[in-house]
Amino acid sequence: MKRAAILVVSLVLQLPRLATARDAIPSATIQITPFGAPVGQTPLISARNSRLYLFDDRTNRLFICDGSGRVLKTTGSIGDGPGQFFKPSAMVTSAHSVVIYDRGNSRIVVLTLDGDFKSQFPIKTQLYNIAAGDDDTIYINDPSSGHLITALDINGRMLRSFGDLSSLSVLHHTSNQTRDERFHLTANRVRLAVDKSGRIFAVFMIAPVIREYSRDGTLIKEAGFDDANAHQLQELFWHKDPNLPITSGIIDGNQVPFLVKDAAVNPATGQLVVLTALSKLLIFDGNCKEASVLEIKGAMDSQLWKMAVEDRSIWLVRVFLPGTFHGEIPEPQSLPSLAAKQTH
């Protein structure tokens, strides 16, 4: 009885500390500077094996560079033949491939990491994002299929389709369901990323919600962002704070602010990195919990749109006034510690 009483008291004493700990995710500022990209307009970017892949959608060419931006190889041109492109809108790299959503030609093109043609297949549906596993499985987000994620092989054969669809009201924890039907597809648009072990992360584009699936499509976890970040993003979505910067666009016919602009797994650390509308990089640990928050400082932060990450380096692409920027992710030990935050 005495032991039980002590346990209860101990738990009560721990509660405020746990709450403080949840609020005190290590955070830092990351300064980004213009990166000497070989092309003026590089909306698509990915990094792998110390190489940077930049796709210039103005000239439909892929530039393979070293980390300093020195061009190692250029490939691609305008057209619809093998190795040609017309206004691609998504690109990702895996251990063996560069996968490009060639939007203008309604197809997915797979290249080797050296930029040589491997395969291509038609995609009739509209995509906003793709991901690729190291086993060359390609993941697309096509909610019109009835599932959140569809897995394809490099020849376009469907391997599996998984992930229950959600709704605007569920994602934003509101009882108002009046917009659910109109936002049926929009609400289920996700940024996809795959880690080395084949786990698939789906980060909702218009809600601060993240899902983790196993390679076979089993839902492992659904989690919200940290309260503070989630709250700010929800405020932004519902236009509650007119001072918050907004990058919006049309998704499936609905004009919406993009809360989550990009998501990628750092190939070196395996951590999921999410670029949010509030010029913040959220870094998640293996349990889908925010491990750290990096506030981006640089030019026109709200226009940052895509990113590539490898090891401590991060490259960010800005839209509207296009530009490529580079920053260094701080060492985890240099971030303010949880304990320091708590005492602060």
Partner: protein, 320 residues
């Protein structure tokens, strides 16, 4: 002779059915195309014989070795910009064997005015019956562009997205010269520093008076503001509104690239309520406009260029 009443009823019924069928067919064939995109590269289309909406001239598509066909269902500044570039290419390259034609899925006032004023030097077709949209399988919510060989073969028919200026330039080079030239490496604004700024011909848009740049600018105490975005027509209005016509106070001469459709530019100036002089370049500003694709594009859509008393470029700055 009396006509049997039963037979009369049958005849009336048949006539009624024929009329109903004909009218529903007529309605069907005048509906916008809403099917899927079928026509793709390599397929062949039959010859289209249509009329220019403004001149009334008969237009046969395709009639030249190569035809660039732009089909617009949506009226947008970007489309005007793209067509203006095609017109610029036609005027500067004078290709005899390459034709351009723009087809619209409705009446687009600005394009029609451009054609009337001969700013658009190639045929404008209004596809009122949507027969071209059906033949080329263009859904009424999309724009598409095509390159068509003289025998009707579609040489390039992207499923989505219309050709932009750089696409038109590259495809023109590819199909006429066999290869595409790209700017070598990332050009830099530094390349124009220390070089004389071209004494370009300008037109002031309120008075329509033409003059050379250095007749109106005092080299050394003036700065030149050059608008070089990928789609100036899309972003110019907000930029001009931001300046509120305070160019004179800033000793700055606003020069808008010749790539902006003049008709659109006049509308933007009118909407912005700016009464101070605004100049439009009468030709491409050599060595400057391409800065958009490197320096300008990276840092801003507007370039602020300072010259010294001899008209030599001293500084290039991009404005956000």
């Amino acid at each position: 002779m009396q006509f049997p009443r039963g037979r009369l009823y049958w005849m009336l019924l048949v006539v009624l059915l024929v009329v109903t069928f004909a009218s529903s067919m007529s309605i069907y064939f005048r509906r916008p195309y809403s099917g899927s995109i079928e026509q793709s590269t390599g397929r062949k289309i039959s010859t289209l014989s249509v009329k220019d909406e403004i001149t009334g001239d008969k237009v046969v598509i395709p009639s030249k070795r190569l035809t660039f066909l732009f089909y617009y269902n949506l009226s947008s500044p970007q489309n005007l910009q793209d067509i203006t570039y095609a017109a610029y290419l036609l005027k500067t390259q004078h290709p005899n064997d390459v034709g351009f034609v723009v087809v619209t899925g409705g009446h687009f006032q600005q394009l029609e005015q451009m054609r009337r004023e001969k700013i658009l030097p190639f045929p404008l077709i209004v596809d009122s019956s949507f027969s071209i949209a059906r033949q080329l399988t263009i859904p009424n919510t999309a724009d598409r562009s095509f390159i068509i060989r003289q025998d009707g073969t579609l040489l390039f028919a992207p499923q989505k997205e219309a050709f932009g200026p750089e696409d038109i330039r590259e495809l023109y080079e590819l199909y006429t010269h066999g290869n595409i030239t790209y700017a070598s490496g990332p050009p830099s604004a530094n390349e124009i520093i220390g070089k004389p700024f071209p004494n370009i011909l300008l037109k002031e848009l309120h008075t329509n008076r033409q003059s050379r740049l250095f007749d109106i600018a005092s080299p050394g105490d003036s700065q030149l503001l050059i608008f070089t975005a990928s789609c100036p027509a899309c972003t110019l209005e907000s930029f001009l509104r931001g300046w509120k016509g305070e160019f004179r106070a800033a000793k700055t001469i606003p020069i808008i690239t010749s790539r902006v459709p003049e008709i659109e530019l006049r509308q933007i100036i009118s909407n912005s309520g700016i009464s101070s002089p605004i100049y439009m370049a009468q030709s491409e500003i050599q060595g400057i406009e391409d800065l958009y694709f490197d320096f300008g594009a990276k840092e801003g859509s507007v370039l602020l260029i300072s010259t010294n008393k001899s008209g030599v470029t001293q500084r290039v700055e991009a404005l956000p």
